[in-house]
């Protein structure tokens, strides 16, 4: 079991123990719900990691792995520059700011986000 999985499983277990302990001691619904929901959310991530990492074989997990062994591995494509993050953030800011200042700004932000999303999907193919 990788440390990542252990980390989330133990965190979920800890949250569950604290939630139960809090209910036993305090009988207070808000805090118990918060802790219970936390335990549920952490279990969800832990479950995902158990499934996703079932066949994971990472060079970084091997004590004796050498650089030479791992040569020529392709680990994905890195974009050095991209205008998308800047414009995406601007669109998201417009949507949220528009809810407060002007619905027109929110609609413009939404349209911009749709265009950027489409562009992103096309670019990623």
């Amino acid at each position: 079991m990788t440390i990542g999985r252990r980390l989330f499983i133990s965190s979920a277990a800890f949250a569950l123990v604290i939630a139960c302990g809090y209910w036993v001691v305090a009988r207070e619904i808000t805090g118990t719900f918060l802790l219970g929901f936390l335990a549920f959310a952490l279990s969800f991530i832990a479950g995902y990691m158990v499934v996703a990492e079932k066949k994971a074989d990472l060079w970084g997990d091997r004590d004796d792995a050498s650089m030479a062994e791992a040569a020529d591995q392709v680990i994905g494509t890195y974009s050095i520059r991209s205008p998308l993050p800047f414009w995406s953030a601007l669109a998201i800011t417009s949507i949220t700011l528009g809810l407060v200042i002007s619905p027109t700004l929110a609609v413009l932000g939404l349209l911009a986000a749709l265009v950027l999303g489409t562009f992103f999907i096309i670019q990623s193919r």
Binding site: W59, M67, S88
Partner: protein, 541 residues
Amino acid sequence: MSAVASPRVAPAARTDLLSWITTTDHKRIGILYLSTSLFYFFVAGMLALVIRTQLARPGNSLVTPHAYAQLFTLHGTAMIFLFVAPFALGLANFLIPLQIGAPDMAFPRLNATSYWLFLSGGLVVFSGAASNEGAAAAGWTSYVPLSAIKVSTGLGQDLWIVGVFLVSVATILTAVNFVTTVFIYRAPGMTMWRIPIFTWEMVATSLLIFMAFPTLAADLLLLFVDRRLGGHVFDPAGGGNVVLWQHLFWFFGHPEVYVMILPYFGVISEIIPVFSGKPIFGYTGLVLAAFAIAGLSMGVWAHHMFTTGAVNNPFFSFLSFLIAVPTGVKFFNWIATMWRGSISFQTPMLFAIGFLLNFLLGGVTGVMVASPAVDYMAHDSYFVVAHFHYVLGGGSLFAIFAALFFWWPKMFGVKLDETLGKWCFWFLFVGFNVTFLPMHLMGLEGMPRRVFTYANTGRLPELNLIATCGSYVMLVGTLLFAWNVIVSTVRRRPVGDDPWGANSLEWATSSPPPEHNFDKLPPIRSERPVWDLHHPAGPRT
């Protein structure tokens, strides 16, 4: 899949504005984060100076009560949401891929998006100052009913909600990036038990962010619904509950304290061994203590609510006391690392020692106010203000300066001037203690926090005047740092790859590192690969 840094075909490094706006390089994004958070620190610091000047004498009328409320709200918001926590994210952005031997973050574009959301969130918060009724004035905790539409009628509070919401989204996305990068993109041989303590602390911090920040985002949405869409979630007249806001806010707010301190525990754990000439004492203990602190911090939120009478005080008090145990383990390990070491008192180490002294006092007063009996007396007084400034100002701020002096050569290829650095340290250390030590006494004399003036009784006028003088000494220290940056940049005396004789992987590459981070990675057989590289015949850790 492995974390080998396959060379990227990169055009010659550009330095124009457009290249910074479109960058997805983790190092540049880190530097953007660091410079933006330092800008917000400068603004928040200026606001603090106005606050201290107003409080220098009883009955001062430099600002109106409403303006004062806006000042402390923006000061707290900027320091917490826009400086201390994001600075750690910036540092981690720069360091994590370098420390684990990865070419970049797992999601470079998401990383850049997070930065731009953080920048815009901060600007939105501050833009409230330009609205009709001014900026938000309900404090950084934005307690209901102060932040409800019936009390805070202006646009400033709405802009605060939107701005902090954007920052919280940015922080969550960054945490996802950190955890994925550390779990998946470690170089061959860089097992989890060999990653530097700073990276471990960032994993613990990211875990805390996963658990705490979604709650903040949800709280803010609910508050927005109450204010703008006629909701009654926090409105008792409509069946809502004001204490619910406190529960939800502190469920985020207390872990946030550890989001603001755990990364700096990592910074200190990196610096002390280097300047003590020894490996870190108790690597495993430090890592486990970080996760113990992170876990326990999720169960102590209601110690901020002892005086509401709506929570189980013994439960939260007990868990709060427990946090002192792993924190004590960390302190023990740092002191044991220095014990019989060959200590070199260079600027990063001075700031690290300043951190230890200040944080110790903040920690001790933290244990005091974790006791409901003491908290009932100290709640909402200047004693609490002194406590959290010793933790976040004396602790995190000193670690931030330690980090700046330590990693500046790696970021920019030049060292900051040592003499100016030491002057900067002493001005900040003396100024900090002169400012905040008297606040304990002000609290004990009954001075409440968040008041724009106070009665001319007891020692309050003298104590306030001393604190104000101290704040100006801190200003001198900060300006000395800015002057140091200018002088060192103009002089431009290049340093080697590893000017300190450090341990972790980032010191194996050039200063500043190339776009792809490493031309060649050394073998990784311990948590000190660079030390092993430079001392092939030395003892192994």
